[in-house]
């Protein structure tokens, strides 16, 4: 009972604040609404007892990316500034396209009867996930882990190089 109430609450928060994120004209508020969406998504992960993913979601998404976005908003726009929106015709056409896409997808999903797996749920702990993440044996995920580490390193160096001020070129 309580689980259901919590699920509907999280679902409501996610949907309402997703809408607010895409329609509000104040950019900083959009970032804060996005934060609410990400935090309630972490709540959904907690409800499914995926604690590790929920923690990662909270630290990386809600803690890292949103702060990065807020910093860049403060660097690039004035707080009183309202975001420019598409013209009426463009908004209508986009709304039409997205509603059609959503309707098609929802129809497919709701018609397809998913049969949930009735087998035992092992309830993996953080230790299990972490061990599998760096294991190079069977069912280990060391290779994708390393690949994504390289990607993060490259992205970090790239971001520093791109955002660096080029003093020599200006002169």
């Amino acid at each position: 009972m309580l689980n259901e109430v919590m699920f509907y609450l999280f679902a409501l928060v996610i949907l309402v604040f997703s809408v607010m994120t895409v329609i509000t004209r104040r950019i900083l508020r959009a970032a804060v609404y996005l934060l609410f969406v990400l935090v309630s998504t972490a709540g959904l992960y907690f409800m499914l007892s995926y604690n590790f993913l929920a923690a990662v979601q909270l630290t990386v998404y809600a803690g890292g990316i949103v702060v990065l976005v807020i910093f860049s908003i403060l660097l690039t726009s004035h707080l009183s500034e309202r975001a420019a929106m598409a013209s009426m015709k463009e908004s209508l056409l986009s709304a039409l396209a997205t509603v059609a896409g959503a309707a098609l997808t929802l129809m497919t999903i709701l018609r397809y009867g998913f049969t949930p797996n009735q087998g035992a749920d092992p309830h993996y702990t953080i230790t299990d996930v972490g061990t599998a993440l760096v294991s190079y044996k069977r069912d280990g995920y060391a290779l994708p882990f390393e690949v994504v580490s390289i990607l993060l390193l490259a992205a970090m160096i790239g971001a520093i190089v791109v955002a660096k001020k080029e003093r020599t070129l200006k002169k």
Binding site: L15, V22, T41, G64, V69, G101, F114, D121, A155
Partner: protein, 105 residues
């Protein structure tokens, strides 16, 4: 899984979130808000992975690692995108997509 909550509820939430992200991406004119729409889209995909893993294959760990890697890619993408946006702001004094047409043929 959650008692009395079928898989399709999760899929409905993530579908709506995905298409809201697409709507934002199509209508927004500010680069940072477009980036936030992309984050919405990536996040909705993560909900799908979690729900499928929990409801259909609870013995597997694949869902976890897909999400971890998607989150890492999203973080990398956000960092690079924001670096580019700040550079664009330096050169054009604006981050609206309409003003950035220097390289347009």
């Amino acid at each position: 899984m959650i008692q009395n909550i079928p898989l399709s509820y999760f899929l409905t939430i993530s579908t709506l979130m995905f298409f809201l992200g697409i709507y934002g991406f199509l209508t927004r004119r500010n680069l940072i808000t477009m980036l936030m729409s992309v984050e919405l889209i990536l996040n909705s995909v993560n909900i799908n992975f979690v729900a499928f893993n929990k409801y259909l294959y609870p013995q597997q760990l694949q869902g976890h690692f897909f999400i971890l890697i998607i989150i890492a890619v999203a973080a990398a993408e956000a960092a690079v995108a924001i670096a580019i946006i700040i550079n664009i702001y330096r050169n054009f004094k604006s981050i609206d997509v309409e003003n950035v047409d220097e390289m347009k043929y």
